[in-house]
């Protein structure tokens, strides 16, 4: 199963720009996989959106779903 991952802001410096992670059942397992692969991610706060909707609870991922990871920006 393939999901698309979009990474914003300074998170792309941690996760790289073209992240491919397959066979992930839900957002919680995605987070676990990411934190395992990129331990530095633990230092960052970010929002998870699935198919352009912010999610705050574990959400099932299906083929071709798009997950976005957005960190806060402070600059002005």
């Amino acid at each position: 199963m393939k999901i698309n991952i979009i990474i914003f802001g300074q998170l792309s410096e941690v996760l790289g720009e073209n992240l491919v992670i397959d066979n992930i059942a839900d957002t919680e397992s995605l987070q676990q996989a990411l934190h395992k692969k990129f331990p530095e991610l633990a230092n960052y706060k970010y929002v998870i959106a699935v198919n352009k909707k912010q999610v705050t609870v574990n959400t099932v991922l299906k083929e071709d779903y798009t997950v976005a990871l957005l960190p806060p920006f402070s600059g002005g």
Binding site: F8, G9, K53, Q54, L70, P72, F73, S74, G76
Partner: protein, 373 residues
Amino acid sequence: MNKNILYDRYQRQMILKNFGEAGQQKLLQAKVLVIGAGGLGCPALQYLAAAGIGTIGIVDDDVVALSNLHRQILFTVNDISLFKATCAAAVLQKSNPEINIIDYAERLTTQNAFLIIDKYDIIIDGTDNFASRYMINDACVLLNKTLVYGAVSQYEGQVAVFNCPDKNAVNYRDLFPQPPKENEIMNCAEAGVLGVLPGIIGTMQANETIKLITGIGKPLINRLLTYNALNNQIYELELSANAETRALIPKDKTAFEQTNYDWLCSATIDPPEIDVVFFNKLLSSGDINIIDVRELDELPVIKEFDHQKIPLSQLAENFSLLNASAVVAICQSGKRSLQAAKQLTAVFGTSKKIYSLHGGITVWKQQLAKQLL
């Protein structure tokens, strides 16, 4: 205003479908506060003043620096070391003498925020740091003011409309409940920013504001738009209100005034968890509030030392009971007390020493039993 001037100056937008004289009148009656006259604030201010917003407030305690000029194009080299709010007000007033511009060349703090923000209908956040952003968000929630948020980093920007009067209104804390840790996210001074980017994002903030006032189009209410200047990709996401985040916002003006946002946003350490030995030392020191944050009917009952019973769910209403210079939160296992300590740390900052008893009353009683054997 003289009708001829009105029609001349605003003719190009007044002939727009759905805008008309009615839309222009709404703008002239509107009061908009722009906080931060920097990269985001400058373009927002220029377009809002030009569009005929009747009253514009500008808050900024900073002065113009040479490194500002690549993106803050309201200023010139002659303005260097002068207050941004004052300079901006002077330029805007020249471009549109018919509107009312009020400059506040002072820092927005928890002490003046209510007074200033309350006078305006819509607040634009053009600040450059998390402490101000969380403070402005919380003040807007408490005062029921619509907040037009914008922020930039390097080549990317974010825009959203928060707290628009609506039962499902989303605010900044629904997106990011707690401020990031210090050094987690770099600001423009550290990370850099392409000058035109805040120009685009600040202009979008002005556009959202005009749409909100005139009632045209679909403002980004409860939505976050991100824009990437390198590839022109726009990503819009739907935000959802989160009941838990409401507890993170001070409950009233008094609690707001006591919140230390600077500290909140620079804190790198969690409130310390203390062991039984240190706890016993504190017990004998005197100037301390010990609070049991368990529910009132939970066992075992603590008879061994003086304490106050304030269940975690009622903590926010009872900050005033804490009058000592140190507070230790305790509960059954040390989990809820840590949560309580975090809440207290956010409110009291460095003004009180806040602790949580690791292992809770369970471990404390076990140790006591061992000593008695």
